[in-house]
């Protein structure tokens, strides 16, 4: 039921591999603290890999928006990678799909960040 988060570096981009559920409570907190921690360490090119996120609620959507806005306000970039159909559909109906920069391929996603 919980969410797991792990990070790795690829060509100056921090890829955050998330798995589980981003929902009110623990899942949202894990995402918030992970992004906050990366930004505080100066790691401002963030690619959130949501390939193993099987569920997200309105709080989780809000947390993604917050992560995106916080990164941008601190001069960073946050992009989404590997959306599942459920998450893709949720971002579509909330009209957020076009707000986020969504990538389907990790290598292309890494390259898309400004050097």
């Amino acid at each position: 039921m919980t969410m797991k988060s792990s990070t790795r570096q690829v060509d100056g981009v921090t890829i955050v591999d998330l798995s589980g559920r981003i929902t009110l409570g623990e899942g949202s907190v894990v995402l918030r603290e992970t992004v906050r921690d990366l930004l505080s360490k100066g790691q401002k090119k963030i690619l959130l890999n949501l390939g193993d996120v099987n569920y997200i609620d309105s709080s989780g959507i809000g947390e993604l928006v917050s992560a995106f806005t916080t990164s941008k306000n601190q001069g960073g970039e946050l992009k989404l990678l590997n959306l599942t159909k459920k998450v893709h559909d949720l971002l579509q109906i909330t009209k957020l799909y076009t707000v986020f920069d969504v990538k389907e391929d990790e290598a292309a996603g890494v390259k898309s960040f400004s050097k």
């Binding site: 039921m1 009110l24 609620d57 309105s58 809000g62 806005t69 949720l90 109906i93």
Partner: protein
């Protein structure tokens, strides 16, 4: 055995939100909905429970959330009731409005309305009742949303 009507009285906790979601998924499966519809129903109930626990009862340990399921011939009817001050319907934002798009909250009721066939919100001074209906096999006689 399929239960036609069942009601739960729950504490105003995050555990209630998760329990409500799980119970809704089980009820929806028993009613014969497919996986996608089960996900929509359980998420709608989760969002309704979040509103009841957080915004209605404000985690007050003295206030309860009532969750009821009724299976009729054509519908799965779900009611979530809290004991808060009553939701102000005029303050429900449109999360698709340009000014609201990047807000970090305010999408719960929008998602409920997106996922269920009929949604009624009945606020009163003693709490808010959220009534949601999903047609078992699609009942074209009903509109998307009932008047509130």
């Amino acid at each position: 055995m399929t239960v036609d009507r069942v009601s739960y009285t729950l504490d105003s906790t995050l555990e209630t939100v998760n329990n409500a979601e799980e119970t809704a998924g089980r009820m929806a499966a028993e009613a014969g909905f497919d996986d996608e519809e089960i996900m929509k129903i359980s998420m709608a109930v989760r969002e309704g429970a979040v509103n009841a626990v957080l915004h209605g009862n404000a985690y007050d340990p003295n206030k309860k959330v009532t969750l009821a399921f009724e299976r009729t011939a054509h519908d799965l009817v779900i009611v979530v009731r809290d004991q808060g001050k009553g939701l102000d319907l005029s303050r429900i934002p449109d999360p698709l409005a340009p000014d609201n798009l990047m807000k970090t909250s305010g999408r719960g009721i929008f998602l409920i309305r997106s996922f269920m066939d009929v949604v009624e919100i009945h606020p009163s001074q003693t709490g808010t009742e959220l009534r949601m209906i999903k047609h078992v096999r699609g009942n074209p006689a009903d509109s998307k949303e009932a008047p509130q």
